[in-house]
Symmetry: C2
Subunit: 329 residues, 2 copies
Amino acid sequence: MAIPNPAPTMKDVAKEAGVALGTVSKVINGIPVGESYRLKVEAAIEKLNYRVNSYAKGLKKNKTFIIAVMVPNLINPFFCKLVNCINRSLSQRGYRMLLCATDYDPEQEQAYVIMAEQQKVDGIICLSYNPNLQVTEGLPLISIDRYFGSQIPCVASDNYGGGALAVRKLVENGCKSLAFLRVGSKLTNEPNKRKDGFINACENLDIPYVLKIIDDGVPHSEFWNFLREHLHDGKLDFDGIFCVTDSLAHLTRQALREMGLRVPEDVQIIGFDGIRRFGDMEYTCSTIVQPVEEMAEACVNMVLDKGQSQVPSLVCLPVTYAYGGTTRK
Amino acid sequence: MAIPNPAPTMKDVAKEAGVALGTVSKVINGIPVGESYRLKVEAAIEKLNYRVNSYAKGLKKNKTFIIAVMVPNLINPFFCKLVNCINRSLSQRGYRMLLCATDYDPEQEQAYVIMAEQQKVDGIICLSYNPNLQVTEGLPLISIDRYFGSQIPCVASDNYGGGALAVRKLVENGCKSLAFLRVGSKLTNEPNKRKDGFINACENLDIPYVLKIIDDGVPHSEFWNFLREHLHDGKLDFDGIFCVTDSLAHLTRQALREMGLRVPEDVQIIGFDGIRRFGDMEYTCSTIVQPVEEMAEACVNMVLDKGQSQVPSLVCLPVTYAYGGTTRK
């Protein structure tokens, strides 16, 4: 598995080709030299299996071909798929990914941005929960889901449209009364719009609805208390539930089962994200699917393009509905 | 969110401190200077919020504080958790992670190793399926699960012990006859030992067993045909199944349900990996849990330590059993 010879240097190439070091440098950097010199250098590079030191090259060109990517963790399947797709999009363009999972810690997020600046990355793509994140002007930065203001472009799903789509699908499936369950964040972020889309669609379709929103960190038992309060003679006051994430939909389904209610016969549930079991099997529930591949492509295109053309401050990408067993169809 | 002033340089620090550039350089690089000079430089660094250019520093010290990490993808929850833990272990030691998902493509894996060499990373941690992977000697490389030979240290779970533990747990739960289902790889790799551990434990405990091993890429319907062949009068010939992964255990449970068999009442199943729903909820099945955190720690310790002390060529870390609903307990 190991190649025994030490890595050849640019000097070795020059010696092998019988040309000056400067000539080798010109060829490597695409600066025109006489045809015969170029051929000699290329043959020597080939023979010695010489590999350009990108690190030094990056320093010279002030480019590293590295993009820093920051997500809270690689435990949540949505973050994992997002990073997987960003990696593929970067890789297709010859860029590498310096990845950091920050555990939702604002200090770690800030430290990582400082580190990324020190490493001279060509840009940052971040999914941050830190509203006070400070970034040096000039370093291209794209935010996912969190809108920091017009100078930082943000890529997100059409969360508003997704909330409305969930209502339409529940109503199409026969639901007459709806509930929305959400673990809330006090930050201004795009996923907050799921609620607005839900409310607006209920109002437009004249469907009665209730909201149950709990703060981050509050135990989920608050939700189950809410459900029990709405349970009368073995029947819930509503027959359709929109959950802000697929993981909450999963927990809600379990709680309803424990209350003796059947899903989807008695209550139908739609989640949000589009999480598949084991990453690539069936959907974990009926769900509003985030267009993760398109989001990754948009982030990569925008971070590499920034500074060169006008980048919109918010890009919302269309979501779709997928059946996953918790609705009638 | 943006800091408007351009990043200060070492020259700015020298000017602010009223000292020579070389003095600033010495302080930054920990080389002794007179106390009063050191204090002046430190005050200027503090005042200007000067940040060391790690990129240039790395070039000088021939160290980048970056470890390249290579896994097939960030879709499989096991790979995700592994990368999450490696990231944390590296981060605690002041190192960053250059991550690549290779889609099981040997060409991409080789290209990534070459890239990592060019970027002058301080080492590579890889989970590769490429038996012919070539690495320049001298670059610390740690392999996960694949044993490439004595010169490349390998970190893995105790797969053999895990296979035996699955047998013991099924027998403890009352199983009298067992089956082992596996999607096989022709490569020499550590997970192959799950089978050896299974067979050895069955032989020792005098438990009858059957094996069904299919090659990578063969449709899973081969397994379901095998199960149907062993189904007589609504009863399977065996009452315990050990599946080589949790995802196979999940599919097997679904197939058995479709055949009218109850899990765990009629058949008990144990998987391998320790995958939790949505990354951090309940186990997806009763399972042999890989010690992912300990594996990540071992990889990081070994890749950073390599060359300094004697590193063993294979480190096997202990697995544990976890109940997850597909066994009686």
